[in-house]
């Protein structure tokens, strides 16, 4: 059963990585706003048509 030490070590390292990410995310204000992110992800408004000097907008192929 000594392999349990390997599994505990590996799992704990990953858990610590996640904990670190969590602390970092909280500190950087990732979770301060728990309302607007859910709404903002819905808005993918397409950009306004480009000015005349720009090359054609959509590079399309039919494959």
């Amino acid at each position: 059963m000594s392999v349990i030490f390997l599994l505990i070590a590996a799992s704990t390292v990953v858990a610590l990585v996640f904990l670190g990410l969590f602390v970092r995310a909280v500190r950087s204000g990732q979770f301060d706003d728990d309302r607007s992110p859910a709404v903002r992800m819905l808005n993918d408004h397409a950009p306004a048509p480009r000015a005349a000097e720009a090359p054609s907008t959509n590079e399309t192929t039919d494959r």
């Binding site: 059963m1 030490f5 390292v13 990953v14 992110p37 859910a38 992800m41």
Partner: protein, 728 residues
């Protein structure tokens, strides 16, 4: 300042189309083996003989028997179908959530083609019998390395995109993708530590109980971090998009994400309840599994409640229909899973078709239906057109749902009733169903219905293919989709000079973590060999390493995938010790690289098979199972009688075992045994051939069947030796 850029739709399209392709292949292989399972050895006078003949004929070939196709089925649906769906959905949503094109088009392409190469290699090697013998991790070591490399490419591409993002906030879906990447990388590496013998053969570094624990720690978390977390990420992106309303509670999504990833990793031992794994480890698995109900249901409810007030749209939109059934199936299987990890229910359900039904609720319900929803939502959008036929999509939905019902419900019945039959005693205390096969033949009707369910589900998928082809023809791929977003404001001081080291200086916490990870990786590679070799010190004195012939026989057992139908794990129930013999002890498995406990009994347990029948029984049985067990559903193994045993690898095999601490230099073998191994092998084959001759069989000593018989006759006998010694 607003920046203009383009989303890469071509990579999403590529991943999405191979998802459909491999999905069909994987489901077709599933249908083949489901039919083989019930129809193998159908007599030519049965009315349905010619209907099932293509499938049973495949079951008679060397490469396409159940034991080799079942790993192909699981690998295809998990890593090819679901895997490519993850990549398609993640590549689409990551770009839009981060307001950036993928980090590198070249990496995207390498990721795509590399992953397809892995799949093709799997589809070639698994039917050829190249397997590690560990469920869901069957691919041999060169492919394991390739998987690692491609996974790193995916990681670099994803994290690169995150770094260059134009949106400071990371939407919850991205958290799920990150967790997926980190954890799968670790699981894959730890579980795949193996010692190569040749390009196509390796031995798991772990043995017996240890191997079982590592394997199911991996196996369960493959479910968690390959089939669950990435799909939750997809749900959190595509469900609000399809319903055009925000997720019910963003707060809940955050809480349930962190709870889920911290709890999931410890649930693995629930796959080994009542096995030879120490009891405390089993209980640990149960406790964490029960706790998992909370975050899992948090996710399910959050998904379903997103549709509150929009149920009228579900009636009309097939995308939402697929999603509702998918999320419901997720909720059902994440309640059932914890219940099945309690000792009481596990004692009934383990090794039966109940588990097969359970995983398919998750597989074809949750993963399959969410993938279909993605296809129907993404294809029209990326081709700038409308879905060709909503009616056909609805037809797919209903036929697929019916398929799930026909698949799962008969198997729930089958599992429950077969388990009760295994455990049923007469009033005098004898087993009612002494012959295992009798319990199997009782549930054949359920296997027919399951195959029908699978067929319906596959027909649904074909309807989708037609719909997609028509839609694609009506539109044109928007390969690069225009987008614009303001650039992310950067911290002014950070930008000024000495960029990279300032970055690290300002983040001591990350530095610490990074070094910890590096140290841990180093530590793992130093520790594993030493303490695992030490752990091979026998705890039961009579347990000895396999003879060279038995070792070859064991490798044939692994190659043929015998573990997909036969367990080697007698649980400590009276019904099992009466039927099979003494229950399994941890100390019996210390030389088993890999362990072969199995997870499903379509045939009887084989742990105490040794000495139960004469050599001749096995010789006849492996050639034609119905000759010894009338009605048997096991395929015939003619090729074992034709192929000569490859004895050129004997020395390498013995030496590899020595490296992993198997004491071949001790009694009864002695120092320098690897040199004499083939001589020992010939002697033992001669004894078996002589034994067969007594029963009137002229067998050739150099054929593979002799090695397999040697292994089967050895199984579980070391303990019997000890018992006779004790009574003396």
């Amino acid at each position: 300042m607003t920046e203009r850029f383009q989303y890469d739709n071509r990579i999403v399209k590529n991943f999405l189309f191979v998802t459909i392709l491999w999905g069909i292949v994987g489901m077709l292989v599933g249908l083949i083996i489901a039919t083989q399972m019930v129809a193998q050895n159908t007599p030519p006078d049965a009315w349905y003989y010619w209907i099932v003949r293509p499938f049973t004929w495949l079951g008679e070939l060397e490469w396409t028997k159940f034991g080799r196709l079942r790993p192909l089925h699981t690998n295809a649906v998990i890593f090819a179908f679901v895997g490519n769906a993850i990549f398609a959905g993640a590549y689409y949503s990551l770009q839009r959530l981060l307001k950036a094109r993928m980090f590198s088009d070249a990496l995207s392409a390498i990721h795509f083609w590399g992953w397809q190469l892995i799949i093709v290699l799997a589809a070639v090697t698994l039917p050829l019998g190249m397997t590690t013998g560990k469920e869901y991790a069957e691919l041999e070591w060169p492919i394991d390395i390739l998987i690692t490399l491609i996974w790193v490419v995916f990681g670099v591409n994803m994290f690169g995109t995150i770094v260059k993002r134009r949106e400071r906030h990371l939407y919850v879906a991205i958290w799920f993708y990150i967790a997926t990447w980190v954890t799968v990388a670790m699981l894959h590496i730890v579980n795949s530590i193996e010692l190569p013998i040749s390009l196509t053969k390796s031995y798991s570094w772990y043995a017996g109980v240890q191997d079982a624990l590592v394997q199911w720690w991996y196996g369960h978390n493959a479910v968690a971090f390959f089939l669950t977390t990435p799909f939750l990420g997809l749900m959190y992106y595509f469900l609000p998009k399809a319903a055009n309303r925000p997720v019910y509670s963003y707060k809940l999504s955050i809480i349930h994400f962190w709870a889920l990833i911290f709890l999931y990793i410890w649930a693995g031992p629930h796959h080994l309840i009542y096995s030879a794994l120490p009891d405390w480890a089993q209980s640990l698995g149960t406790v964490f599994s029960i706790m998992l109900i909370a975050p899992s249901w948090g996710g399910m409810l959050n998904g379903l409640l997103t549709l509150r007030g929009a149920w009228d749209r579900v009636r009309e939109d097939p995308v939402l229909k697929f999603m509702v059934v998918a999320i419901t199936a997720y909720g059902m299987s994440t309640l059932e899973g914890p219940l099945l990890s309690t000792k009481f229910l596990n004692g009934i359900a383990h090794f039966t078709d109940w588990i097969i039904a359970h995983v398919h609720i998750g597989g074809i319900g949750w993963n399959g239906f969410l993938t279909f929803a993605l296809v129907y939502w993404l294809v029209p959008r990326m081709y700038g057109t409308k879905l060709y036929s909503v009616k056909l999509a609805n037809a797919h939905f209903w036929i697929g749902t019916l398929g799930i019902v026909f698949y799962a419900i008969p198997l729930y019945f089958a599992g429950f009733f077969q388990s009760l039959m295994w455990k049923q005693f007469t009033p005098d205390g004898f087993l009612v169903y002494k012959n295992f096969l009798d319990t199997l033949l009782q549930i054949k009707y359920a296997y027919w219905l399951r195959a029908l369910g699978g067929l319906l589900y596959l027909i649904g998928a074909f309807i989708m293919v037609y719909n997609v082809v028509k839609t694609v023809k009506a539109g044109r791929l928007i390969a690069n989709e225009d987008a614009e977003a303001p650039a992310l404001e950067k911290n002014a001081p950070e930008e000024a000079g000495g960029y990279w080291h300032r970055w690290i200086e300002r983040r001591p916490f990350q530095m610490l973590l990074l070094s910890l990870v590096l140290v841990a990786i180093g530590g793992i590679f130093e520790m594993v060999p030493t303490f695992l070799v030490k752990s091979n010190i026998p705890t039961i004195a009579s347990v000895k390493p396999y003879t060279p012939l038995e070792l070859h026989g064991r490798d044939i057992y692994v190659r043929e995938g015998c573990y997909t139908c036969h367990s080697q794990m007698i649980r400590p129930f009276r019904s099992e010790t009466e039927r099979y013999g003494e229950y399994a002890k941890a100390g019996e498995f210390i030389y088993d690289h890999p362990f072969q406990w199995g997870s499903k009994r379509t045939g009887p347990d084989l742990l105490r098979q040794g000495g139960k029948y004469p050599h001749s029984w096995h010789y006849y049985h492996m050639y034609d199972p119905t000759s010894m067990s009338p009605g048997s559903l096991m395929p015939p193994y003619h090729h074992l009688y034709e192929h000569a045993l490859d004895t050129t690898t004997t020395r390498a095999k013995i030496e590899a075992m020595r490296t992993m601490g198997v004491p071949y230099d001790e009694e009864p073998y002695g120092p320098g045994f690897a040199e004499r191994a083939n001589a020992h092998l010939s002697e033992q084959s001669a004894v078996i051939v002589a034994g067969l001759k007594k029963d009137g069989i002229e067998a050739q000593a150099d054929k593979e069947i002799i090695a397999l018989i040697a292994y089967l006759q050895r199984l579980g006998t070391d303990i019997k030796v000890k018992e006779t010694a004790a009574t003396r």
